[in-house]
Amino acid sequence: MVYRAHILISGDAACIAKGARDVEAALWEAVQELNLKDEVQILEVSSLGHSDQGPEIVIYPDGTDYVNLTPEDAKFIIEEHLLKGRPVERLTYREPPSLPLPPPSEKEVRVVLENVGKIDPENIEDYIAMDGYMALGKVLGEMTPEEVIEELKISGLRGRGGAGFPTWLKWTLARNAPGDMKYVICNGDEGDPGAFMNRSVLEGDPHSVIEGMAIAAYAIGASQGYFYVRAEYPIAIQTLRAAIKQARDYGLLGEHIFGADFSFDLEVRMGAGAFVCGEETALMQSIEGARGMPRTRPPYPATAGLWGNPTNINNVETYANVPKIIHKGGSWFASMGTDKSKGTKTFAIAGKVERTGLIEVPLGMTIREIVYDVGGGVLGGKKFKAVQTGGPMGGCIPEQYLDLPVDYEHLKEVGSMMGSGGFVVMDEDTCMVDIARFFMEFTQDESCGKCVPCRVGTRRMLEILNRICAGEGRPGDIETLEELAVYIRDGSLCGLGQGAPNPVLSTLQYFRDEYEAHIYDKTCPAKVCKGLIEYKINPEACIGCTRCARNCPVNAIEGKPKQTHVIDADICIRCGVCKQVCPVDAVYVE
């Protein structure tokens, strides 16, 4: 029997003491229940390496490592990971957190992250000691709302949550919109896979965001604000709640702040778990208690937002910049960055790069500088192939643009976008068709289902991409993909659908030959797509150490000690473990 996936569960004493047997039973039960027993194999192994965090399982082929599991988690993982194909991030093994943030590399400039890791987020006095709430004091004591907006205009700050809309203009629209009740909202939904920029700020420097929101509220004339934070960030939520309480205790939230004729308070709402809830109108629906589904604009939130009232919504990072701008002046902020993209931006560098993690750099830094100087270069000295920016609705930028300045305009020009700061480096071993397929899988799954082009169109695109990656591509597929992409982009209701075709369009633009290789030559040039590759053992090189056979999760490798080993392609699930463990590099991909 050929299994699609294999679950290894650690059977060491420590894990068993912590309930590994119950977890195993729950796994079995869930597999039965969801009718996966012919597709998924569960194997107990002696240890998986993190028995201090047991019960632990590892799921192959992708090798996701889950720790600290309960039986409920086990069931959830089967549903999410194996049925829906979405690894459950909150349960995966993470390197122990390394706060304080590692010191910035030479080229980094920390504005938003300045305090992160330096101050105790649970202690408001730490923040105040770093000039915290000075800006709010200044605004309430000395500045009119118009002056606040003018300062933002000078700063050139643009929204950090996606489209880069000028923040001063957004605030002006909300300020000018007629209405007695106005709101400010902080978008902390951060749903892009692999993104954690906003989380770091919320967990490390919550008061900077609170202060930024209070200033925004003053500028537009709001008295109530909401934090919308994804439920997967329990620590951020807890930190925020504590910070809000402290701010209230210090009179920095509530009635007559700093004795001024300005009252403002904040509430934290937990995200509903769907990616689309980060879209501003869906987010407001969700706060209102409805299913988070985007609605058409106009009217924009600035005129008709939360409960139909004028509302300003900004990203966490946008707000976190505000106190700094007020405190140090708009021109200080504008001195960083490029002509139209001012200030700094945080990115989560990930993928095939030496130093992954959170960075903050002035806008306009080139891709090359970010990858090589800040990120330490491509992992293992491999060749740079592309960088994917902008999250699931972004695009892949090829090597020829290594010297492209990273700012709103330039990213857009080459078919990608800034998004919230995803920055995934890809090396020569990355298959661009597979990458496009990966993102399409994500967006089609996260489509809220409201509008037809996105709900149905992304599905049709994914089916084609799946076929191509499985070696069943047909002539005409590329053209159909292009047609679908354009119509979905033009016809969808919200940014999710409008942006969903981007990864495909940009890879088609720059890596069309890879699509063609998949379709016409039935090869995957990067040797990634499982339907198009085979693992083989070079008999000349094999020393018969048996290591591959022992590590193969599906026992696809046969061979006696000291004799050449052979992989049975029918059983092999192309997990690549053998290639990783072979001491003499005898395993190769064909």
Binding site: A274, R295, R460, L493
Partner: protein
């Protein structure tokens, strides 16, 4: 509201500020296709059929949501727009099972119409859909998700019009499904079977069990009449074909209910099980046997003049019949009255119309169970509550409205409702026959500002009142004449009937009919002409959608004939 000027497809159009492009276009007779949009529902913007190009605006705009503004230049059928519409249709046809040949909606389907309009002549995309289970757990209508296009009309109808919030969506992306409550079978859900969702569904996804495959729009006849199942008197659109009753729809933009109906008006009358009285009957040798009208009326006329008599009517017939009934008994010096109890006026406040419930700020309900007996009023109260109205139910028993009321009070606590109403804007008191005197006294301080809606338990109570028929009990007379119409007597009445000579005018057989000495048939609601006066006090017209059976005569006419015979 001010006038604005725009051009649509080069044509100058005048619209009101606040109108959408779609509304402006409609006024100017420019047809923009829609699927998820429905004029009775809030705009949704999901299906993308109504996309248009607006000069100066980025991307395409959904005309159903985009406000028309001064100077706007709109194009509704550009190449780009048409291409996207066609694309959307192609996707919808690839999403689920739309083999129209086997669909009961074929010919009347809004999706199919648009497919013809935009020239879909082949399947463009593969159709990897899986068969989904049909849900037939409700008696009157069926949900076939295989034909559903997820337009959410049904969901919005359920929430916005019926205020019932049963329907919703589950999951995301391609797995999105319309479900009831937390995904239970419809028949086990909180659905009240008002059928509003059924009426708004553009495709063959929601199917009426009775009329399915019974005829397409081009084959059927529509007759507008008034519902006679309760005193609300909603407008009905009765659909028939070849003298067969197919379906009942609500009438949008009509008073009092604006298109909303309830299970009693829309469905139940189509499933009538009682045996019809199809012609006059007279008792001969102890047995009821068929007779001609002349013979039967002759006996009745003679009996009415030969001794003391009393006429008792259920308020279940037309204004004309009730008036003729009162007149007849005046002529023979008999007493005449209505059988059902009557709600007494409260002695304060101004008379409310049904629609007043909708924009009330405070609604006080007492002595009535609208969710059971005047359901549309119950739904209206829910709707008002959704809009923020405070609902106070004053009752010493159970009341279905309590579940979503701001407060449920005992009679002794009625004063609290008055406190809530103090300074609260528009206050509507909805009450029925069960109202307690102490509650009336407690509510009195509401004064004449308050709107009062009396829910008379009888269907055509106002018609009876206008005819001068007051509640009466059967008395000790020689001849008792019962005008039942479609209402079969209740046991209490039957128990009070004495050994008098009994004339019963009724549509259906019942114990009382079977005891009668003379039985006269009556038409039923779909066969009626004339008027019925609803609790708004408007005499609403009745139009016959079906012919009466051959030997049935309208009550008003039969009663007039009797009066003539008596001379």
């Amino acid at each position: 509201m001010s006038e604005i000027h725009l051009t649509i497809n080069g044509k100058p159009v005048v619209a009101q500020s606040g109108q959408t492009i779609l509304e402006a276009a409609k006024q100017a007779d420019i047809d923009i296709p829609v699927l998820c949009h429905h004029p009775a529902l809030a705009n949704w913007g999901a299906c993308r059929m109504c996309l248009v190009e607006v000069k100066g605006m980025r991307g395409l705009q959904t005309s159903c949501t985009c406000p028309a503004t001064e100077g706007m230049e709109v194009e509704t059928e550009t190449e780009k727009v048409v291409a996207v519409r066609k694309f959307v249709l192609e996707l919808l046809f690839s999403e689920r099972n739309h083999y129209c040949m086997y669909c009961q909606m074929s010919g009347d389907c809004e999706l199919q119409d648009l497919a013809y309009r935009y020239g879909l002549d082949h399947w463009t995309y593969p159709r990897p859909f899986e068969k989904m289970e049909v849900d037939a757990s409700r008696k009157y209508f069926i949900m076939d998700p295989n034909r559903c296009i997820l337009c959410s009309r049904c969901i919005r109808a359920c929430s916005e019009i019926a205020a019932n919030h049963t329907l919703g969506l589950r999951d995301r992306g391609a797995r999105t499904m319309v479900v009831a409550d937390l995904d239970v079978p419809f028949g086990e859900s909180t659905c009240v079977e008002c059928g509003t969702c059924l009426q708004v569904c553009p495709t063959g996804a929601l199917i009426d069990a009775k009329s399915a495959y019974g005829g397409r729009e081009k084959d059927v006849i529509h007759t507008q009449t008034t519902c006679m199942q309760c005193s609300v008197g909603c407008d009905l659109d009765v659909v028939t074909r070849y003298q067969r009753l197919l379906r009942v729809d609500g009438v949008w933009e009509s008073e009092p209910s604006g298109g909303l109906l309830c299970v009693d008006g829309r469905f139940k009358p189509l499933y009538e099980k009682r045996q019809r009285v199809t012609g006059p009957l007279v008792r001969k040798d102890g047995k009821l046997v068929a007779a001609g009208w002349n013979e039967a009326l002759g006996i009745v006329a003679e009996k009415l003049q030969s001794g003391s008599c009393q006429g008792l009517a259920y308020c279940a017939t037309t204004d004309e019949a009730l008036t003729a009934f009162a007149r007849l008994f005046a002529k023979v010096d008999g007493a005449a009255g209505r059988i059902e109890p009557q709600v007494a006026p409260l002695g304060f406040g101004q008379v409310a119309k049904v629609q007043d419930v909708l924009d009330a700020d405070v609604i006080i309900v007492t002595g009535a169970q609208p969710l059971e007996y005047q359901r549309v009023i119950g739904y209206f109260i829910h709707r008002a509550a959704d809009q923020g109205a405070q609902v106070a139910v004053i009752t010493d028993d159970e009341n279905g409205l309590s579940a979503r009321a701001a407060m449920t009070l005992t009679s002794a606590e009625a004063g609290k409702a008055v406190e809530t109403a103090a300074g609260a804007g528009k206050v509507v008191v909805v009450y029925g026959t069960e109202i307690k005197p102490e509650v009336i006294a407690a509510l009195k301080p509401l004064g004449d500002e308050a709107y009062i809606l009396a829910l008379d338990p009888a269907r055509n109570a106002q018609g009876a009142t206008a005819a001068g028929l007051q509640p009466q009990e059967p008395s000790d007379v020689d001849v008792l004449y019962f005008l039942l119409g479609e209402q079969s007597e209740d046991a209490a009445l039957l128990a009070k009937v004495n050994g008098a000579f009994k004339i019963v005018q009724a549509a259906y057989h019942s114990p009382l009919v079977d005891q009668a000495d003379v039985v006269l048939p009556t038409p039923i609601w779909v066969e009626r002409t004339g008027h019925v006066t609803n609790l708004d006090g408007s005499a609403k017209p009745l139009h016959a959608a079906l012919l009466m059976p051959e030997n049935v005569r309208d009550e008003a006419e039969a009663l007039a004939a009797l009066a003539d015979m008596i001379g």
